[in-house]
């Protein structure tokens, strides 16, 4: 097997330059690469373009990048849990491209899969269709969407082995697998890094071929946005 281990987040992100095109896994704050985010904050690079379904909250996740003005452009499906985001967007400091969530997911999947473009019904007749080709198949209109490939994809998994094979847990999987496949360089941080041969080949979510660097995160806060509990059962 080809070993992908790096020491820590700092080493993993060392060569990410200002102006890079990044993908960052997660849905809300669930399944985000917390350790890579921290390491990038310390590096303090700027002018990033970031593909991420959401933009974090004011004091966690990508929200921290916004505070430090590290982001030039966000490509997301849903933002607004974040006042600094709103301020920068309304003032024009931050460029924002909003895409339907399924279109976003599929553009990333297509990028990793060597498919330059595909057709989807989502967004036909809406603002999202502006500047895009519309075409009918079997009498129904579809938009042509181009795929995304990142310079660096930062993903977070539950377990990973030193060959880069990843297993996610629960709904923390979300955008991580497609982003792992769509990165020219993919950096995976995991809660538990295990030796090759520990994970069942039949149960790998992201095959190691997609991962160039892997490390075990120092700690995971796993902040919850909407802690909702039922008191009875």
């Amino acid at each position: 097997m080809i070993l992908k281990t790096v020491k820590d987040a700092k080493e993993a992100v060392a060569d990410i330059p200002s102006g890079a095109f990044l993908m960052m896994g997660g849905f809300g704050l669930c399944g985000i690469p917390e350790n890579c985010i921290e390491a990038l904050l310390e590096k303090g690079i700027t002018d990033l373009t970031i593909v991420s379904n959401n933009a974090g909250v004011d004091d966690f996740g990508i929200g921290l990048f916004l505070k430090k003005r590290m982001v030039k452009k966000m490509i997301s499906s849903y933002v607004g849990e974040n006042e600094e985001f709103e301020r920068q967007m309304l003032s024009g400091e931050l460029e924002v491209e909003l895409l339907p969530q399924g279109t976003l997911a599929e553009k990333i999947r297509a990028g990793g899969a060597g498919i330059p473009a595909f057709f989807t019904p989502a967004g036909v007749g809406t603002e999202v269709a502006k500047g895009k080709e519309t075409r009918e198949f079997d009498g129904k209109p579809y938009l042509m969407e181009r795929s995304f490939i990142s310079d660096f994809s930062l993903v977070k998994a539950w377990k990973g082995d030193t060959a880069g094979n990843l297993i996610y847990k629960g709904t923390a999987r979300n955008f991580n697998p497609m982003m792992a496949a769509a990165g020219k360089i993919t950096i995976a941080e995991v809660e538990e890094l295990v030796p090759v041969g520990t994970l069942d080949p039949n149960q790998i979510h992201t095959p190691g071929i997609y991962v160039q660097r892997i490390f075990q995160g120092k700690k995971y806060e796993k902040r919850i946005e909407q802690r909702t509990v039922s008191t009875y059962k």
Binding site: C30, Q101, L104, A122, G170, E225
Partner: protein, 219 residues
């Protein structure tokens, strides 16, 4: 006039045995509470889960198990987890039978606007555009009028739309209506105590009234 809970309750009557269902944020989420337990249905969460269970107890809370509204939830026996591309493959491919979501406006042709108000902060469409473009059955839960009394059932949407000719049915605080494929809101049921005249006066789009309009029934 129906409360939000009653709108959810009325929509729950539309649910059929064996359906896979996606519930939007807000009133649609409440529908889950009123689905009769004898119906086997599965709730899909577009962040990657089939089989949404009840909210967790304090000790069950798991930051890695949330719904599309970012609320902590539980899974059920028989649940399945998948990634976002698979989740929307499911939605886009028509495997999710029923989508219930909120709206700011619906046109008499079934266009829906629910993601953007010009001049206000745009939060994004999330999965709504994918859902309305593909689900076989789309039911909208909404208030018939805005807070300042303007009808939200219009000849055509004034806000940026989320999807074209996709809404099949509306349950508002005043009425149940179906979209006529040829255009128009077909009035099917009145909320208890609400007159046809009131619904007429509060529907800006073309309202079609065919025969006697019964009152909604709640069990």
């Amino acid at each position: 006039m129906l409360t939000k809970e009653q709108i959810a309750q009325r929509i729950a009557q539309e649910v059929k045995h064996g359906q896979y269902i996606n519930l939007g944020i807000g009133i649609p989420t409440l529908v889950a509470n009123y689905i009769p337990s004898e119906l086997d249905v599965v709730l899909q969460s577009e962040n990657g889960l089939l089989g949404i269970g009840p909210f967790p107890t304090e000790s069950e809370v798991d930051a890695d198990v949330i719904n599309a509204g970012k609320q902590t939830i539980t899974m059920l026996p028989g649940s399945a987890i998948f990634d976002s591309a698979e989740s929307f493959a499911m939605i886009r491919g028509g495997h999710v039978h029923l989508t219930i979501l909120g709206a700011m406006e619906v046109s008499e042709h079934g266009d829906i606007a629910n993601w953007k108000v010009p001049g206000k902060m745009v939060k994004g469409m999330g999965g709504a555009m994918d859902l309305v473009a593909s689900a076989k059955m789309i039911i909208v839960a909404m208030q018939h009028c805005s807070k300042d009394g303007h009808s939200k059932l219009l000849p055509s949407c004034t806000l940026p739309i989320t999807g074209v000719r996709c809404v099949k049915k509306i349950v508002s605080d005043l009425a149940v209506l179906e979209i006529d494929p040829e255009g128009g809101f077909i009035l099917k049921e009145r909320a208890p105590g609400v007159s046809v005249e009131e619904i007429k006066s509060k529907t800006a789009g073309k309202l079609k009234i065919l025969g006697e309009i019964p009152e909604m029934q709640f069990n």
